[in-house]
């Protein structure tokens, strides 16, 4: 790492401060003031709008395989998705994904 100790701590402090301000932005400053209905309607879709986009590249191009699509990881992702849809339960989906991942990694050597 070419960064000096001072530079590393500067990154940590500034990133920490910036991240906190992002988190505090609406909740801290707007408080209980009423939000317009359109904004509320848009915000209803925040989780399903952000998380799939974050996950898709990680599933298709995993860093652990140098960005090459990987059968075991792809099937594990599908398993987690299918179990999540069927059970409507996050924990079962995680367990399903983990079982599929280790089974496939073992089976495919």
């Amino acid at each position: 790492m070419s960064f000096t100790t001072v530079e590393i701590w500067a990154v940590i402090a500034l990133l920490g401060l910036g991240t906190y301000l992002i988190r505090f932005s609406f909740l801290g400053l707007i408080g209980s003031r009423q939000m317009p209905p359109l904004v509320l309607k848009l915000l209803r879709y925040t989780p399903v709008a952000v998380l799939p986009g974050m996950v898709a590249p990680l599933v298709l191009w995993p860093a652990a395989t140098g960005g090459e699509p990987d059968l075991a990881r792809g099937l594990a992702a599908l398993a987690a998705f299918a179990v999540g849809l069927a059970t409507r339960n996050t924990i079962w989906a995680m367990i399903g994904g983990a079982i599929a991942l280790y089974t496939m990694l073992f089976a495919l050597g």
Binding site: S2, F24, T46
Partner: protein, 235 residues
Amino acid sequence: MAGSTPKSAYRRGIRDGAPFIIVLAPFSLLFGVVATEAGLTLAQMMGFNVLVIAGAAQFTAVSLMQEGAPIAIVLATALAVNLRMAMYSASLVPHLGAAALWQRAIASYMNVDQTYASSILEYERHPEMTPDEKMAYFFGISTPIVPCWFGFAIVGAAVGASIPPAFALDFALPIAFIAMVAPALRTLAHVAAAFTSMVMALTLAWVPSGLGLLIAAGCAMGVGALVETAMERRA
């Protein structure tokens, strides 16, 4: 919830948050390993964990620092990854906005993917919860999650590279996020938003880190709202 109190909401939060230890522990452990391999001291690694407390951004920052990127680029990229939290913050306003400022200040600090996703889903399932119960639930969810995030990174730094890649710890994060999204696909609008997010994020993967995801998320929220409006008209 009939007969519910802030205390029982807090306990329910702890119960719902505890299973996340299974997925956060490997993720936190992995950060400890990666940060140590990148040459960060234990104090610096914990500085990231405690002051930034945002996994994806921490990994982004450390990998850019390793590549020798300028400080401004490291900060801009890692903060872009965290911009989604402005949306989390905004979407919690209708639920937690009435709470005292000090409570909102602490909740903001602990507003991470897992605490946000669990809480917002609980609030949608139980709209009858009072503001006090909602805040108590949020603190309950955070109680097992936040210390777990701090603690396992220390273990990761200690064991370092002795965990074989065969354990595929890298994939704990995608599985966790998929497991959170799938049960949330309740309506056609949710499905349309998720699909838009995925397709656009993949199409915009060439856009410098974080920004493509932001554009994709913005469009996906718009699609969700549009489909919801269209369904209302048809009904």
